[in-house]
Symmetry: C2
Subunit: 346 residues, 2 copies
């Protein structure tokens, strides 16, 4: 991985064998990201296995300072520890590290980016760019056009989060429980604190006082992405028996009373939003329809009956794609565009 | 069914063969409701079949004016049409009709009762008593102690409602979808507008403008039961792939800022509430644990981070039991107590 060829970049994915990393590879291929050279990296445990980028097979190497040398763009689809250790190495060597972990999300020196919302903060200069968590991304994509028009003042959201947000093992456990329930056996739950199949679980995250990790992330990251450090956010995160696809029921209060027709217009044309809203015809977002797409599906838009001037809506999005990998690849596209436009290339 | 024996009442269940009705029979037996004579009634279609009240088998008769003659207490576990046709007959003949349908819920002449909240409105006199819907019941049981202490001003709730709230056919459809998904076949959905298994569906109810039937009921009935006709209510109702057990994520604003310790104390001792709240130990309400119980499980109680002085919490309850049949039988117990205390018996 020594030379940049044509217009393509020298790209690596760290954590290439995991659920998030393999989705990054799929989306790099789908979006025809211009890659001059590609390197698949992971922990020592996965080194030597192979992954596919389109039809091309790549042998996975262990991530190391040397393995990252010369990379223009490195997607970190690994844990916070790996990102903390290796993302600065990428930056020091003149590349851009795009991190999906929570390591740098609240670091004031690192931009936290949802391209449709604050993509203009991506400079293309060497450094680290963080991706928000899988609720904050779709939430801000849906809220941003409404905020720009009416001024967001208070946000309430109840989530319906899928098993894949809890990792591959939880998806496997849910699947085994589905089979057990279908066969009339007692489902087991070695991975998760409760049986998830046929259930709704308002927990499973570690706690920060009376709020959980996920709730703290949604509050902090939504504020940062929207540029509203004082935004009042009320959030309850809940896991549901869905394999892929997060959803949320949202109520939003604004400085200016929201006009429903204007809100509909805004959501119909907002980047990244698929506005699906004909409840009489039973058309609204569901995780089963959003899974496999890159859009944030928004519907059931209506005046908040309990708060004059406010709006209520419901969203669904593929948490592995727009909630993680697609967002990261879109950030990569912004880096590429900025570099082509003349930002320094190492 | 001609004479009242001992302290028992002459009791009938209309809709005795349905999901709701058979749960009423189960709960009458469990709670040892004093029955002098029992009559199982249903539509002509089910007449001649048998149902069990404890060990005793009862042949189902077709509901008619004559079949209701002499009844002290009649549980209507049928549709609104049946209730509208026959509940007044019970009242005219000196009995009490306890209706779980929505027919009389907003009739100002008919009390809408959740025993733990406004049971004092039950007089025992001949007439009709309505039961709220399966969300309004647990919601008001959980909110009432907080409202009495702090003065409820605004309520926001996102629901996680089980298939059984949509009727027996939806439970069967969910079960068939679970088997299809486990076997790798495409699940079908002849009953419901979307596949429910592995999904979250913010619809399926008929619409009243931009709100659905269920949302309108939750607003109106919560106001009536709590005696707060002007209460501001923000609600989004959502169906989840759970067989039995509804849940809700709630935010409540009060006239007086809520004290957390006092709120905990109140919920720990509130009638009908099982306060389960140790999220560090992954103890909180889930529908899978609430199913089969008569309690409203409440947990994840905490200050609303987005609204100083407000509270957030999560509840789960068995929608067939406390959300329907148990509530109706508890109303029957109040009628019995009032009659024993001297209210007129026909």
């Amino acid at each position: 991985m020594t030379a940049q060829q044509g217009n393509g970049l020298r790209v690596a994915v760290v954590g290439a064998t995991g659920a998030a990393g393999s989705t990054v590879l799929r989306i790099l291929h789908e979006r025809r990201f211009p890659i001059a050279e590609f390197r698949a990296l992971a922990s020592a445990r996965s080194a030597g296995t192979t992954v596919k980028l389109g039809e091309a097979e790549h042998t996975v190497a262990e991530v190391s300072d040397g393995a990252l040398r010369g990379c223009d763009l490195v997607f970190f689809a690994a844990g916070s520890g790996t990102a903390r250790r290796f993302a600065p190495v990428v930056a020091e060597q003149g590349g851009v590290a795009i991190d999906k972990s929570s390591a740098y999300r609240m670091d004031p020196a690192v931009p936290l980016i949802v391209p449709e919302v604050n993509g203009d903060e991506v400079t293309g200069e060497p450094g680290i760019v963080a991706n928000p968590n899988c609720v904050a991304i779709p939430l801000t994509v849906a809220l941003n056009p409404l905020h720009r028009a009416f001024g967001l003042r208070h946000l309430t959201v109840a989530t319906y989060q899928s098993a894949s947000g809890g990792g591959r093992n939880l998806v496997g456990e849910l699947r085994a429980q589905e089979v057990a329930d279908a066969e009339g056996r007692e489902p087991e739950h070695p991975v998760y604190p409760h049986v998830l199949h046929g259930n709704v679980v308002p927990g499973g995250w570690s706690m920060h006082g009376l709020d959980n990790d996920e709730e703290v992330k949604v509050v902090q990251e939504t504020r940062r992405v929207l540029g509203l450090p004082e935004l009042r956010v009320s959030v309850s995160t809940v896991r549901v028996p869905v394999a892929v696809g997060h959803s949320g029921a949202v109520w939003a209060e604004f400085d200016t009373p929201a006009d429903l027709d204007r809100a509909r217009e805004l959501l119909s044309t907002a980047p990244g939003v698929r506005y699906v809203d004909d409840p009489e015809a039973q058309q609204y977002p569901t995780p089963r329809s959003a899974a496999g797409t890159d859009d944030v599906w928004v519907g059931r838009l209506r005046p908040d009956a309990g708060n004059p001037g406010g709006l209520a809506f419901f969203w669904s999005a593929d948490n592995l794609r727009k909630g993680a990998a697609t967002n990261a690849v879109q950030v990569g596209e912004l880096v590429l565009a900025r570099r082509r436009a003349g930002a320094p290339v190492a």
